[in-house]
Subunit: 144 residues, 2 copies
DNA sequence: TATAAATAGGATAAATATATCCGAAATAAA
DNA sequence: TTTATTTCGGATATATTTATCCTATTTATA
């Protein structure tokens, strides 16, 4: 469904969000440990998220990754996925035709569209705040 | 969403189904042309589908790939996807945790489950016959 | 039985995704 | 201003997916 990079990106963003509630910045090392991911690879993904302005980074001593806690409720899962995996999953054809076209549909178009749109809605309606609060309250987990 | 191999496998199966209605067997060459895929790679995927008994092959002169036309309505998209991509998309965790566990859910579990289950329903309820008939009647298309 | 036609399957190549490493640049504090 | 700390970014390595090629095996028919 999502690439490894995207999975790491989502989990990393949630962990950053949790710490930003408390005004704490976190490093790739802490993040990788907490979400059980390869550190250097995770760092690369964080860079991409910074470039796409999903999260913010501060270089140098006492730096790290953070996110404005007032924006947490406006940062949606869809932004993270789009930044890392692109928008093929939202708009692309399920059977890989060059483009998904109502007027030239692939065999699964009508049925696939429903699933794809529900996924889209889900990602667009889920904020980093929603996810971070569930982790904080122990309802969900970032690693096994 | 699906691997390239899986996309080719689905489209190939549909084309085979259409021809099997008319008692015709088809070759990887014809299939690849019709679904716009690399021929040798497509042949490998067909082998896998034969091993998983989704389609049938006949070697030698006048041979080719076919599927029992009386079974077309019982062959579901889910069988093809499972044969090629495995069942991770049905049962796996959306964020890559080792397993999807109600009692130890990842942050997106509750919301992801709905989408995943709808996809599963869709694949299990769609038969090769449904898809083949739409192609035959010109409602949908196998390539751009 | 010999021949031609077709799938099966192993070996290999190319492309992409995943992962690691290291030096450069930026920044806070001593 | 120097030092320690931390992200940035390029180069490289590994694994997986996608794709190609060639030979073996099977089969219908002449
Ligand atoms: S054309 Fe394939 S999903 Fe729309
Ligand atoms: S635990 Fe992640 S989807 Fe169920």
């Amino acid at each position: 469904m999502f690439s490894k990079a995207c999975e790491y990106g989502i989990k990393a963003s949630i962990f950053i969000a949790i710490n930003s509630y408390e005004g704490k910045r976190v490093s790739p090392k802490e993040i990788a440990k907490e979400i059980n991911s390869p550190q250097a690879f995770t760092a690369k993904i964080l860079q991409a998220l910074v470039r796409h302005k999903v999260i913010n980074s501060v270089k140098g001593a006492y730096g790290g990754f953070e996110v404005n806690k007032n924006e947490l409720k406006y940062i949606k899962l869809s932004q993270i996925v789009k930044a890392i995996d692109g928008d093929n999953i939202y708009n692309g054809c399920g059977l890989g035709l060059e483009k998904c076209d109502e007027n030239h549909p692939c065999p699964v178009h009508e049925k696939f569209k429903n699933v794809r749109d529900e996924l889209k809605q889900m990602l667009e309606n889920t904020s980093l705040e929603d996810l971070a609060l569930d982790i904080k309250s122990g309802v969900s987990f970032l690693k096994a």
